[in-house]
Structures are given as C-alpha cells and as structure tokens.
C-alpha cells in the first residue's frame, strides 16, 4: 500500500516506473476491499493496527492513485528535472493514503508532513518564477499550519475526559484543515499559489492534496462528535458552517470577475472546498442529533464529491497548461481553442459542467447528496422557519459559480486563433470521460 517509492534518474523511465508503482498500489487496494464489495462506509472497520480499510480510505486512496496516474505523464512538460517531480508526486500520494486510513497519531503527523513537503516541492520544482514565489509562500504557511496540526492532535489524544480540551484541539485542527484545504480566512496563499505557479503541479495539488486532510477531518469529527456533549458538538457544527459559507462566498465571488483562467480556477477550488466542508458540517450535526439518514447521505455525497472534484481539477489545470503559451492565460487568449482542438475542448466542457453540477455527471450526484443531506428535517440547526437555509445558501452559491464557468466555456468556442499543445496532458483531460461514465453508472451501483 505504501509501496510507491521507486524513483529513477531517467526522465521517461521514472514516469513509467511511477505508473507501474501506482498501478500496483491500486491493485493491492482493490484486492483488499474485494471481499467487502462496495458496501463499506465507515461503519465496518477492519482494524489493522491503527490502519483502517473502509469505504472512506478506499475512495480517497484510489482517487489519489488514479489522479496521480493521470498527472504523472505531465511531468514531462516541466522545464527540468522531471524525475524529482515524479518522486515528490508519489510521496504525496503515499501521504494521502496514510492520512485517509489511519487514526494513529504518529501516522497522521507523518502523513500530513509527507503531503505538505511533497506539495511545495512539486511546486518549486516547476522552475519558473511564479512557481518559486508560490512555493515559498506555501512553505511558510504550511510550516505554521503543521504546528497547529501537531498541537491539535496532541490535545485531542490527551483529552480523555476533558471536553474543553477536546474542543480546543478540534478548533486548532480546523485551523490546520483550513489552511490545507484553502478555507477562508486561512486561504490567502491559495489564489497566489494556484494562480501563478506552473499548472502541472497545481493540478496534482488542487485535486488530491486536500483529500487526505478532509478524510482525516471526517475521522476526527466522527470521534469527537460522539465524545462531546451536545452543546460543544453544536459549537463545532456552527464553526464548520461558518467556515463553509465563508469558503463558498469567497470562492464564488472572487472568481466572478477574474479574467485570468488559472486564478479563476483557484477561486473555484476554494468554493468547492466550501461544499465539502458543508458535508462535514452536516456529518457532524447528524452524529450529534442522531440522524443516520443524513449522516449516510453526507458521507456518500462527500466521497462522490472527492472523486469528481479531484478528476475535474486535474483535468482543468492540465488543460490550462496546454493552452497557455507565454505566462498568463486569459479568457481572451483562449478563444478559438474549440475549433483547434475539438476533442480536448469538448472534454473541458464536460469537466466544467461537472464542476457546475449538471446531471448525469458525477459532480451532480455529489452535490445532490450533500445538499439533500443538509435539508434533513431532523437537523433543526439548519432550519429557519421551516426553510433549510443552509441548503439554499449552497444552491445559490452553486448557481453563482455557473457564471464564471460559462465564461470559460464561451470563450473557448468563440472564433479565434488560439492553439494548444497538449502532449502528455491528454490523460488528465480525458478523465472527463471517466466522469461521465461514473455519473451514469452511479445510480445503478447505489441501488444495488
């Protein structure tokens, strides 16, 4: 499972070896969850020395592996030293797998560290000025948040009977999560890093590096919500709600008037994390109120959302890499790509639609489950005068996001003279087909 570290010094070989390693990891995962089919969620846990194999970890790990496989070839597009990039990427995947599967404190810290270091090294390895400045900012803030993480884990573990300490620990953890995931007001690095670095590492960053943190969040919230008395639990929920709404608003409003595509996508990442935190909030609330229905839906929705979000973001940033020539890619410079590269532009179209949440794509199902879970009548916190206001806010934000996605779609299909170089990038972009297929098959699978 963690056997993914086989780098080598030659460019192409490292890529090939990396792919093989990831494929092996995927195979091992598939083998290990086989006996349980797809019925797993967190409920059935098979303890393995602090290492859980359940629906959560399977989803996150497989997603991370898959996206890693998609992005790996893109390392050839970097200016120099691609094998280190592959190394860092694989490390990051390993860290994500560790984060999503463990509740052992040391493993958590180690995993988080792996993810953090690999993240900013990937960015810096790209070599250009924007990436270098981005990686420095990222590294600084990452260091700080790492400390927050360590402290919070310590607090959580050592709080056996003291609720206040547990809550404090959770809050600090939320700060760390906020940093990693890009939740306001901890998100300040994100538009700069995602927006100005080389898109290749960003595509890996934005898609998978968050997933580990969020998976960890689920486990911690699961534990603490059950351990805390209701009053404290509600505080947590309220905080999560505030964070979620903040993320949605900042993300969507910030992206509204952007003309640089990469920065726009950065803001969109923030918004999407907002929806994911919404699922976290609902999950916690449902545990506190004792509503298994909502808990199930929130969790399933979140997992689907992980997969769809990761695939989409990988594809989007890969596309941006292919479409940009000099430095900044603006809406105007994208005009004409529709006719120049019809297949890939069509894939981007599908990916953007998936981010908006259009059925029958995968993203729709994720949003549906998450929004619907928040509208559960038993969770009274989310209801004012009978209206599930939280769901309504999320829907409104989702509608708001349509605007800037459509602008991108529109500018691709306007007549123009842009062309793109999509070598090695097509796997990521073509992952859109995976989104369609998964989206259509999902209802069938779920009903089984």
């Amino acid at each position: 499972m963690i056997l993914t570290l086989l780098p080598s010094s030659w460019k192409k070989t490292s890529m090939v070896l990396g792919e093989i390693a990831l494929a092996l990891a995927a195979g091992v995962w598939a083998y290990s969850i086989y006996p349980f089919h797809l019925q797993l969620l967190e409920s059935t846990r098979v303890p393995f020395g602090g290492f859980y194999i359940d629906g959560l970890s399977a989803t996150v790990s497989l997603t991370a592996i898959l996206v890693g496989m998609l992005v790996l070839p893109a390392s050839n597009r970097l200016k120099e030293s691609s094998w280190q990039f592959d190394f860092a990427l694989l490390l990051g995947v390993a860290g994500t797998i560790a984060l999503s599967s463990s509740t052992n404190a040391f493993l958590i810290v180690a995993g988080w560290g792996l993810v953090a270091v690999s993240s900013y090294s990937m960015v810096s390895l790209a070599g250009d000025r924007g990436s270098l400045t981005g990686s420095i900012k990222y590294a600084f803030m990452s260091a700080l948040s790492f400390q927050f993480l360590v402290v919070s884990i310590f607090l959580i573990i050592s709080s056996t009977s003291d609720f206040k300490i547990l809550t404090l620990g959770m809050i600090l953890f939320l700060v760390a999560l906020g940093f990693k995931g890009g939740i306001p007001p901890f998100h300040m690095w994100l538009p700069d890093v995602y927006g100005y670095s080389d898109p290749v590492p960003v595509s890996m960053l934005s898609s998978t590096m968050k997933l580990g943190a969020l998976a960890l969040a689920i486990r911690l919230l699961d534990l603490s919500a059950l351990a805390l008395p209701i009053a404290y639990g509600k505080i947590l929920v309220i905080l999560l709600v505030i964070l979620s709404i903040g993320a949605m608003l900042v993300g969507n409003l910030g992206g509204l008037t952007q003309s640089e595509v990469q920065r726009m996508m950065a803001y969109s990442s923030i918004a999407h994390v907002g929806y994911m935190v919404m699922a976290l909030a609902v999950f916690t609330a449902s545990l506190i109120y004792g509503v298994p229905q909502a808990e199930y839906y929130a969790l399933v929705g979140l997992l689907i959302y992980f997969a769809s979000y990761a695939l989409s973001k990988a594809g989007v940033f890969a596309f941006i890499k292919g479409a940009m020539h000099s430095s900044r890619l603006t809406l105007q410079s994208m005009e004409g790509l529709g006719s120049a590269s019809p297949l890939l532009s069509g894939s981007l179209l599908v990916i953007l639609l998936n981010l908006i949440g259009v059925p029958p794509l995968l993203g729709f199902w994720g949003k549906l489950f998450i929004f619907a879970s928040a509208a559960n009548q038993s969770i009274t916190l989310f209801f004012i005068w009978g209206f599930p206001w939280f769901t309504l806010v999320a829907i409104a934000n989702s509608a708001l996001s349509v605007f800037y996605y459509i602008r991108v779609m529109r500018s691709i299909y306007l007549p123009g003279k842009a062309t793109g170089n999509f070598k090695y990038l097509s796997p990521a972009i073509l992952s859109s087909l995976g989104l369609i297929i998964l989206g259509v098959l999902l209802p069938l699978l779920l009903s089984v």
């Binding site: 420095i136 900012k137 600084f140 803030m141 700080l144 948040s145 927050f148 809550t167 404090l168 809050i171 600090l172 939320l174 700060v175 906020g178 940093f179 306001p184 007001p185 901890f186 300040m188 690095w189 538009p191 700069d192 009053a231 509600k234 505080i235 309220i238 905080l239 505030i242 900042v250 409003l253 910030g254 992206g255 509204l256 008037t257 952007q258 708001l400």
Partner: protein, 668 residues
C-alpha cells in the same frame, strides 16, 4: 344495421381540407373541384341520414366509437341522429355544397385559393361535427373549429388592401376608427367569440361536475336531477347564463354583436356560408338542443319560476338585438353591411322565439325558431351570393356606386327580389310565415316591450332591404355589366326559388311545417306537449303584414328615381343628422368597447411593462450583477502578495474562531 359510416358526414370535409391543400398550390381548379367533391358526398349522405332518422321514428340514436376515457367517463366520438340534428345537417351540408360551387367561380382569380379551400372544408367539417356531436366535448371541438376557420377566412385577404375593408376610411367615431381591415376583423371575430366561450367552457365544466357525463343524451335524461342539484346550490341561473354565453356570441347577439359587422371583410362566399347561413346558426342550434331539455326538466320539478328570468333575458336580448341591428342597417351604405346587420337582426328574432318558450307553449316557440332559422339560412345565403355578384361586377362595396343592375343581370334581380320579399315577410314567401309566427307568440306572451321591438324591427327590415334593392337595381345603369357565369348564378337563383317554394308549402297540413314540427318535438328526449299549430291571430298578422308592406312601399317611393333624396336630407344637419351618425357609427358601441376595454387593457399592460423593465429586468440584469461584481473586486484586493499579511490573516481567523467558541459557550 350499423350507421357508423354516417360519421363520414363530418369526417370527409376534414379529409378534403387536408387533401386539397397541397394540390391547391399548383392546381387551383383541381383543388376547388376536389374540395367540392368532398362536400358533395356529405350532402348526399345527409339526405340518407334524414331517411335513417325517419326510419327510427326520429327518436334519437347514437352511432360512434370510443375514444378515450378520463376518470370514470368514456368519451366517445360519434353522432347523435335525431330530427333536429339530421335536418340541420341536411341544411348545412347542402348550403355548403352550393356555396362551394359558387366559390368555384368566385374565387378563381384569387392568389390564396389553397388557403381558402383548406379552411372552407375545415369549417364545414367542424360545423357538421358541432351539429351532429353526441357529447359536449365533441360539440366544443366543432365549435372551436368553426371559430378558427372563421378567423382564417375573414382575414383571408390579409394584405389589407383598401378595397377589402369594411367601413369608411378616415371616419372616426368618438376617436375610434369606423373602418376595419381584414386582419383586424379576423382578430375581432376570434376575440369576441372566444371570450364568450370562456363562459361556455365553464358551463360545460359545471354540467359535467353535476351530471358526471359528457353525453348529451344522458344529460337530457337526467336533466331534472341536474337542475335540482344546481338549484340547491343556488347556481342554476349563473349556470344558465354562462353555459349559453357562447351561443350568444356565436350568433352575434348584443353585447357580442360587433364581430359579425366587421366580418364582412371576408370573401362574400364566406360571408354567405359562415355569417349568414351556418356558423351563426350554431348558437341557435345550441339553444334548440338544450333549452327544450331545460324547459321540460324545469316543468317536471316545478321550478319554472326560477328558470323563467333566464328565458326573459333571452327574449329581451333577442328582441333588442333585432331592433338595434335593423336600425343600423337602415342607414348603412355598404351592401354587405346591410346584409350583416340583417343577419344579426333575424337571429335576434330566433332568440326571441326561444326566450318565449317559457311564456307560451314551448314546442311551438322552438318550432318557430327552427323554422325561421331555415328560412333565414335560405334567403340570406341567396342575398349574400347575389351581393357578391353585384360587388364583383361593380368593383365596389358601396351601394351608391351601383345602380341599374336590372338591365344587365336579370336573373340576379329575380333572385334578389325573391329573397328580399322573403326577408320582409311578404306572403307567400317563407319568411312571412315564420316571422309572423314569432310575432304572434310575442303578442300572446303579453310581454309588450318585446313585441313592440319586434314589430318595429319588421318595419325597418322591409325598408332597408328594399332601399338596397332599389339603389342597386333600379334606375339607369352606371356601367356595362353582365350576368355572372353558371357556377355563381345557379346557387343563388336556386336558393331564391326554394325560399318561394318553401313558403308555398309551409301552411299546408300534410307538409313541411307540420312534419318539421313533429320531427322536432318527437325529437325525443324531450316530452313536450304538442298541441297542433295554432291558427294565426288576425290582429297581429295584419299588423305585421301591413308594416312590412308599408316599409316596402316607403322604400320604393323614396328611392325610385329620386336616389339621393333621402340621404341628402339626412345629412343636412340637426337632430336627424345626429341620429344618423349615431346609427351609422353602430350606436357608438364599437367606440365604447375600444375605449373602455381595449384601452383599459392597453393601460394595464403599459403599467406592467414598466414594472417589468424597470423593476424585475433591472433587478436581475442590472442591479445584482453590478452589486456582486463590486463585492468580487473588493474581495480580490485582499490578495496583496505579502506573506506576513497572510499569516496575520491566519491568526486572525484563529482568534475569531476562539471568540465564537467562547461566546457560544457562554450563551449555552
């Protein structure tokens, strides 16, 4: 033996419509022939249908096939054959066929014949469906079908050339134009009739709700129960008013009469068919179909006194319309307009007769309405078709431009004369018998205002039609004119002769009138008392006959030779001139409608438009985008690039969360 094939009577014209449309674009004459053939077959079949009805003793029978079911009702497509429907179908089918023959020549130079024939056949199919329908839904479909084709045919010359207008250009009444173009008239027709159809549909809904069925036969059987439950809810009178509202509009009774006037923008053959002989009779058919049921039902449960106000309303409206429209025909300058007013006026007499059913012997009243309907269909069609020939020859719709037609168009003169005499109620023509029967009934009922209006109308009727006759036919000839060809001439000449024949055989015991009378009342499902036809009251007879002759004589005197005399006197000023304008501008009713209703709606729509554009539109497309963009721009300014500021923000977030935590702890 199954009479299912009799359904083809109403189906075939629809096929003809569809078949002739593609043909009509290139082969005009072929399309005309094809359409006419598809009308000839129903005409022949209708004769057979009357025979079939006869063999059933004119008891109603239904033949059809199931269509769909909703709820627990099975809606079927089929026909109800009894005395009333078979005779009406006979009338409609033959008139349609003869007018189709007329149209063959009349429309031959027209560029839009394919449209014409399509809607012509569509109309005939709808009308036959309406008359023969065995359930309310089918009747409604036929009803609306006639509305649609009427709209299309009135607006046939949609390019609105001035010669196709009705009314005087540049004449305004109370600020509203006196003239109307074909496209405008088409819209008016559809608006007036559809507006009233709202009431009709509500009525059907109420009936269905109470009766639980759409079948006319079943409704007639259950009428006492229906009336009882409606009366219990206090909804009886509203129901009656709403249900018959459509009929009032279709037959151009006040206040829905305006559309018929401007409907004269259509081709004359259309005017003859739709607006004289068939469609406007649909309202009368409706009355004849349903009012007997209501009367007999009300009689059986003794609530005649609750129902009587409604019938009084019908009688008053009918009489008033008869009077009002005749007064407008009095001064009109266009030949077709005179005839249009005349149609509405005669329909008023029919409605008067129906309304009197609550005050005299019902069966006699209904019979008189039916008989007058047939007479009016015959002579009015003849008049219109002849008018079409005249207008075509003189290339003008104004009677002032005509004159001396006697010299060149002898047969037309004879046909017009016969029809005019029938309209005026001069024996031995058919119009005499039934108009006098109606006036006689009015006299008997004791409702004086209604009688007086009817009598005054009779005087005006003979005056205006002979005014038209004298102005058009007598005097020196203004142009070289000749008789139209056979396809045009034969139909109206035949109709003129038939109206004479019909009148001749009317009074004899073993004959048309008694036979129709028995047919009608035997009809069924309505057990009305059937005394023998009364002999005429001498006083009223002589009064109406005298007035008719007086009107005739007056007109002849006024217009023989001294053509312009009367009209010149009228326009000289003073009260007479004011009265003249009042009548000429259609009692200003059109103007009132326009200023009040149309103007009112225009004002409302203007207000709504402002609300929409300045309100909603601006809000969604102006206000919200600009507000959000401003927020967005301000938000982005926070990204300043300095790490220290970012770290500060992080700590700020941390403290904020701590603060919230503390606050919530205190509050809980």
């Amino acid at each position: 033996m199954s009479y299912l094939y009799l359904n083809s009577i109403w189906l075939l014209p629809f096929f003809g419509a569809v078949a002739s449309l593609p043909l009509g674009i290139n082969h005009k004459k072929g399309a005309s022939l094809l359409s006419s053939v598809f009308l000839a077959i129903p005409a022949l079949l209708s004769i057979y249908m009357v025979y079939a009805a006869f063999s059933y003793g004119f008891k109603p029978f239904i033949t059809g096939f199931g269509w769909f079911s909703f709820g627990s009702t099975q809606v079927s497509v089929g026909i109800l054959v009894d005395g009333l429907s078979s005779l009406m179908a006979l009338l409609v089918a033959w008139l349609s066929f003869s007018i189709a023959v007329y149209s063959y020549e009349y429309m031959e130079d027209d560029p839009g014949t394919h449209r014409y024939w399509f809607f012509f056949d569509f109309f005939v199919g709808s009308m036959l469906l309406l008359v023969l329908a065995n359930n309310l839904l089918l009747l409604l479909i036929g009803w609306e079908g006639t509305t649609l084709s009427s709209y299309a045919l009135i607006g046939h010359w949609y390019a609105d050339e001035e010669q196709r207008w009705v009314g005087d250009k540049n004449r305004y009444a109370l600020g509203v134009p006196n003239w109307s173009t074909p496209s405008n008239s088409g819209v008016r027709a559809i608006v007036f009739t559809s507006f009233a159809d709202i009431g009709f549909i509500i009525g059907i809904g109420m009936l269905y709700q109470v009766a639980g069925t759409m079948s006319i036969y079943t409704i007639s059987q259950e009428m006492p129960l229906i009336l009882t439950s409606l009366n219990r809810e206090g909804l009886l009178l509203p129901f009656l008013f709403l249900f018959s509202m459509g009929a009032f509009a279709k037959s151009a009774q006040f206040p829905f009469h305006e559309w018929l006037v401007t409907a004269m923008t259509g081709p004359t053959s259309v005017s003859a068919l739709i607006h004289a002989a068939t469609m406007v009779n649909a309202g009368v058919y409706f009355m004849l179909r349903f009012m007997p049921m209501i009367i007999s039902g009300a009689q059986s449960i003794n609530i005649m006194s609750s129902v009587a106000p409604f019938f009084l309303y019908i009688a008053v409206i009918g009489a008033f319309t008869a009077f009002m429209m005749a007064s407008q025909a009095f001064v009109s300058n266009e030949l077709k307009l005179i005839l249009a007013f005349s149609t509405a006026s005669q329909l008023g007499y029919m409605f008067l007769a129906v309304g009197l059913a609550a005050y005299v012997t019902p069966s006699v009243a209904f019979f008189s309405a039916f008989s007058h309907m047939i007479s009016q269909a015959l002579f009015k069609a003849a008049l219109f078709l002849a008018a079409g020939a005249l207008i075509h020859e003189y290339s003008s719709r104004y009677i002032k431009d005509m004159g001396g037609a006697w010299h060149g168009m002898k047969w037309t003169t004879i046909a017009f004369l016969f029809a005019a005499l029938s309209l005026s109620g001069i024996p031995p023509f058919s119009g005499f018998w039934d108009k006098d029967l109606i006036l006689d009934l009015a006299f008997q009922s004791g409702i004086w205002p209604v009688y007086l209006l009817g009598v005054a109308g009779a005087f005006m009727t003979s005056f205006y039609i002979f005014r038209a006759f004298m102005l058009a036919f007598s005097g020196p000839s203004k142009k070289e004119i000749k008789e139209p060809g056979h396809p045009m001439l034969v139909p109206y000449l035949a109709l003129g002769i038939i109206t004479l024949l019909f009148g001749v055989i009317w009074p004899y015991p073993v004959n048309a009138s008694n036979w129709m009378y028995s047919v009608l009342t035997e009809d069924s499902f309505v057990k009305l008392a059937m005394p023998p036809l009364p002999s005429f009251n001498v006083y009223s007879l002589s009064l109406s006959l005298g007035l008719g002759l007086a009107g005739l004589g007056f007109a002849v005197y006024a217009y023989l030779g001294k053509r312009e005399l009367l009209d010149a006197q009228l326009s000289r000023g003073g009260i007479i001139a004011g009265l003249h304008s009042f009548l000429y501008d259609r009692w200003y009713i059109n103007s009132i409608y326009y200023r009040l209703i149309v103007g009112g709606f225009v004002d409302i729509s203007r207000v709504l438009e402002t609300t929409e554009t300045k309100g909603f539109d601006y809000f969604y497309n102006g206000f919200i985008p600009s507000a959000l963009s401003t927020v967005s721009v301000k938000l982005r300014k926070a990204q300043c690039g300095s790490i220290s500021k970012y770290l500060t923000a992080l700590f700020a977030g941390l403290f904020m969360m701590m603060l919230i935590y503390a606050l919530l702890l205190i509050l809980r």
